[in-house]
Symmetry: C2
Subunit: 166 residues, 2 copies
């Protein structure tokens, strides 16, 4: 197809593992999101926000903290919070003028408590149990290493004026 030198190319086993990973990625995400959506009317994004808020002792966080937790762009956060607010899952409270806090509503808490058990059960059934303890631990460690490697790379060679994005 394309000429394969000793260059950057992946060999067959590596390709196979990578593509297998990509397929799992998509299959698992699609499955989990479809379930949340169909059974509980929540998108994966909704769920992510609600999990974070419900785990905060006060039930409230600054948008910025939510951004750190989810790794979303700030504009995505703002837009999504607006939509969730419209649906009554969340409430913006401007106790401090320009850095409003986001609070989970009763309705939001009800929604996440309703879906959390089934969601966890699915993670267990289709992911945790299939991997088994050893492979799961290995994956967790390797994942953290991948994240570290990418972060190191981005903070070192990303020109300062572009850094705002990262």
């Amino acid at each position: 197809m394309v000429d394969v030198g000793k260059g950057p190319w992946l060999d067959d086993d590596e390709q196979k593992a990578w593509r297998s990973y990509l397929l799992m990625r998509k299959t698992l995400e699609t499955h989990m999101e479809r379930h949340l959506q169909r059974e509980f009317g929540l998108s994966g994004s909704d769920f992510e926000i609600l999990v974070n808020l419900s785990e905060a002792e006060t039930g409230r966080m600054r948008a910025f903290e939510l951004g750190q937790a989810t790794q979303w762009e700030k504009s995505r956060m703002s837009h999504h919070l607006t939509r969730m607010e419209k649906r009554g899952l969340v409430r913006r409270e401007s106790c401090d003028a320009r850095y409003p806090e986001v609070a989970i509503t009763d309705e939001g808490r009800a929604a996440i408590e309703a879906c959390a058990p089934e969601h966890a059960a699915r993670i267990r059934k289709f992911f945790v149990d299939v991997f088994g303890p050893e492979r799961l631990t290995a994956l967790g460690e390797a994942s953290a290493e991948v994240v570290d490697t990418i972060r190191k790379h981005e903070s070192s060679d990303c020109p300062p004026e572009v850094r705002g994005h990262c």
Copy 2:
């Protein structure tokens, strides 16, 4: 936070591994897509289509085959092909009336050949090399098992009239 019986809940190590995986998922995807977009003006979706077409000996496939390969919904496929066609990366050819084939254009081939080496190098650097051979193999196998498990589940308990989506 929420009461933890012996139920479906994940224990701390399992949670940690799952969240670590989720973070890698997002970090890696964001990194790879940003690179493709900034350096070559291609989205991850564009890339996926072009890879598949360029690997077909004839450089052409039916939309349906592309759908199998990418696991996209048919409407997403149609919309995306329209956009790519507008940009000259791809061409619809209706040799058979109602099942048009999709062909990669010279421009499309040039685009993917330009970015493929760097893309592969990134996969190697941030994923393959970080995992190392053993963990990579284990991940590939486990991924396939996860996909099998989900497919088995969906084909068995999905009521026939809804099956169209799957």
